[in-house]
């Protein structure tokens, strides 16, 4: 699917999104932004749940106003904090979603449910009631329901929130395998989610696009801007507004501090930036330049 987001703005009491534009036709696009940056609103607009105040979204050239239901049949959507009726079993829930997505034949539905359950690693839990699943398993059911009907656009909103570290890792592995022949938009405020899954990155900051492009270019922009200080104690210079501290830890010989800055302080060496460093650098630059 070729997804075109054209000048989307949205106001709800205050400006949530401001002139968002991007295009994508395959692969996983990670949408990264702080809480309140407008990620969920953007996902809901692309999912056709919310009308934008300005701009439009095109799905293979189709506008939703004339094609709402045919577009929705091509979208798989995992909303934030996926939930379902607690007493319904996983298999029954997915069978119902199959029927909602117009898979009428019972045999086809059975095959589809089995295939998706295998894909998300829940085949053993097919007879388990939804309410008895762990948080990570519920999210997997959420992914399975989104995958039913093989949608060409998959929207996944904050999928790892509330999961324990092990569930997060296995959920990221699951996401990595979903991008063949489709567009996946993954919205999150957790940098590792994107670092481990996405090829493209859209950084939202205060409702605006701060960056859109491939991950490596974004990371390269922070080269020579990330530093590591080693010393006996925390230097006063690190309190400067020109410096964004990333991490600090006490070592046997003193302290070790990683930070982002245009120029290093004494006793610092340049280190290779990661996505997290680049993200902090990009947002800091955005704040400085307004």
């Amino acid at each position: 699917m070729k997804l075109k987001v054209l000048g989307i703005s949205n106001r709800y009491k205050e400006q949530v999104l401001d002139s968002i534009s991007f295009e994508v036709d395959q692969g996983i696009v990670g949408i990264l932004g702080e809480n309140g940056a407008g990620k969920t609103t953007l996902m809901e607009i692309i999912a056709t749940l919310v009308r934008p105040s300005e701009g439009k979204v095109e799905y293979d050239g189709k506008n939703i106003e004339q094609n709402l239901f045919s577009v929705r049949q091509q979208i798989g959507y995992l909303p934030q904090k996926f939930d379902f009726f607690s007493k319904v079993t996983v298999e029954q829930a997915l069978d119902y979603i199959c029927r909602l997505k117009r898979i009428e034949s019972k045999k086809e539905r059975k095959l589809e449910v089995e295939e998706k359950l295998r894909q998300v690693g829940l085949i053993q839990q097919s007879k388990t009631r939804f309410g008895d699943l762990s948080g990570g398993m519920k999210q997997r059911v959420g992914i399975a329901q989104a995958l039913i009907g093989n949608p060409s656009l998959l929207l996944i909103d904050e999928p790892t929130v509330g999961l324990d570290p092990q569930e997060r890792v296995s959920f990221r592995q699951l996401l990595s395998g979903l991008a063949q022949d489709r567009v996946v938009l993954l919205s999150t405020h957790i940098v590792e989610d994107i670092a481990m899954t996405s090829e493209y990155l859209l950084v939202l900051h205060q409702g605006r696009v701060n960056y859109y492009g491939d991950l490596s270019t974004f990371i390269r922009a922070a080269e020579g801007k990330v530093w590591m200080y080693r010393g006996k104690q925390m230097p006063q210079a690190l309190q400067s507004e020109q410096i964004a501290m990333i991490s600090s830890q006490t070592t046997a010989s003193g302290v070790e501090v990683r930070y982002v800055a245009d120029h290093p302080i004494e006793n610092s060496i340049s280190i290779e930036p990661t996505l997290e460093h680049a993200y902090i650098y990009a947002n800091r630059k955005q704040v400085e330049h307004g």
Binding site: E44, L49, Y77, K81, L100, K101, E104
Partner: protein
Amino acid sequence: MVELTTQLSFSFQRILKQRVSCLFILFITTILPLFLVLANRIDNFEDNWLALLHVQMILHTLLTPVLLNTIWSGRLHNFEKKTILYYLRQPFVYFLSQILVVWLISAGSLIIVDSAYWVVSAQGASGAMWAGTVLQMILTTGLLVTLTGLLSLLLQRTFYSILLLLIYLLISLSFIDRPMFALWFSPNVTEQMVMQTDLVIERGWLLIWMIVLLVIGRLLFLKKAERR
């Protein structure tokens, strides 16, 4: 039509998941009144029959919100909007199917239990009486379920409708003797409502009220379900 059958079967599946609560409610509203009437040892079948109908209808009025609450709490959850209504061309079908399933179970259980009692005990009683009673059951339970559904949308909680239905029932029993407006009748009027053809036909107005309630319910439901 495909959407309606899908939603009906899923609503039915969901209510079956609550079968302990449902069977308890149906026992209280249909079978318990039968035991109570039989315990009175009245020899006249027609008196027993009308007393049974009367008690059943009053208990149904009070427990229909509890039965509907097993599948519809009165609030549309986020996941219902984003994963179910999302794929429906006519989202109201989702709500309508829950009303229809509760109506079907409610009226169906009454008809089955009372017809069994009729077959066993009604020696020589007029078949018109059975037909009149069944019609009253279908229409009254239909009005009860649609009214409960509308009140649940207005009050955001299905349970809260019990109080308003109770008030309506008390007013109906005490002051309203017109079949087209009353929820149910005083014991003296019940016999006329079952036996007199013109009053049975007048009771048919309930169908119109049900349609009106569903039209208003549709507007309220769609307001909750619509795209922002």
